[in-house]
């Protein structure tokens, strides 16, 4: 396994956070992180930023009347079939 540069490591940080790196890429990144404090800090910041954004997006509450509105719209384009 070849050593990777800081630039290569930084290019892989987001995919690492998303658990989308292949095993050999994870290994190469982790080897680099063991020796590079700055890339460790960058990874930690990216992780914090991701978690910060997710928490700020939060859950959207359903607007009152939307379900009824969708029901009505669907009923217009395709009337309910007869009950058997």
């Amino acid at each position: 396994m070849s050593a990777i540069s800081c630039e290569d490591a930084q290019r892989r940080l987001f995919a690492h956070l998303d658990r989308a790196l292949a095993d050999e890429d994870v290994e190469a990144l982790e080897t680099h992180l063991e020796a590079c404090l700055e890339c460790c800090d960058r990874l930690e910041f990216s992780r914090r930023l991701d978690s910060f954004v997710r928490s700020r997006l939060g859950e959207a509450s359903l607007p009152p009347g939307l379900e009824e509105r969708v029901h009505r719209a669907l009923a217009v384009v395709a009337p309910p079939s007869e009950e058997p």
Binding site: A15, A20, R48, V53, P63, L66, A75, A78, P80
Partner: protein
């Protein structure tokens, strides 16, 4: 049991094809999730409601083509995301994506460290982020190019994997990876611009 059988029959049309009621039974439980996605993609409650309604109408028309009705949720998400993309193109508001190299070079981590806007903080990067309001983050997300925003929101809001996103967007995993990378970079830059506008940073306005 009789009620359950009647419900099942009612969900099937004459040819065994799902009709409106069958569609509603399967699709409407995902209304809130769809609205959440629409809101994060558009940043506007009224536009999000319109988008959700249109998604359901398109979904109903195409429901017979869905091979696995148990996958109705990702399928509805896909319809909604495509509507966002199509509308954006049709509106002519699509701004050309800046060169990926420019975006790749941007680093919020470096900007914060270079400007050092909170000189007395011993947790500079963390304290910098804490200044943003929820609304700042939502607006920043809406401002990034749509090609990056859609996959990013799907990861943040729905937690889709890269494989799922590749299927969803109809592109190779490598493309998903680069869009998510640049999407995050674009989001970092929007947050930096927001910090400049809101005066967290006293430096040059660039």
């Amino acid at each position: 049991m009789a009620v359950r059988l009647a419900t099942k029959r009612a969900a099937l049309g004459p040819e065994g094809v799902m009709d409106r009621r069958g569609f509603e039974e399967r699709a409407l439980p995902h209304l809130r999730a769809l609205y959440g996605l629409a809101l994060r993609l558009t940043g506007d409650a009224s536009a999000a409601e319109d988008l959700v309604q249109e998604t359901y109408l398109k979904g109903l028309q195409a429901f017979v083509t869905l091979r696995d009705p148990d996958r109705v949720r990702p399928w509805l998400f896909q319809i909604l995301s495509r509507l966002v993309t199509d509308r954006h193109r049709a509106s002519g508001r699509e701004v050309p994506l800046e060169t990926p190299e420019d975006l790749d070079r941007f680093s919020l981590y470096d900007r914060i460290a270079d400007e050092d806007p909170l000189p007395y903080s011993d947790r500079l990067h963390e304290d910098f982020l804490a200044q943003f309001r929820d609304e700042d983050v939502r607006r920043a997300l809406v401002r990034i190019p749509e090609a990056y925003r859609v996959p990013l929101v799907l990861v943040y809001v729905e937690g889709l994997s890269y494989r799922e996103l590749a299927d969803f967007l109809g592109c190779p995993i490598g493309t998903v990876m680069s869009r998510l990378h640049r999407g995050r970079k674009a989001l970092e830059r929007e947050l930096w611009d927001c910090a400049l506008r809101r005066g967290f940073i006293k430096g040059e306005k660039s």
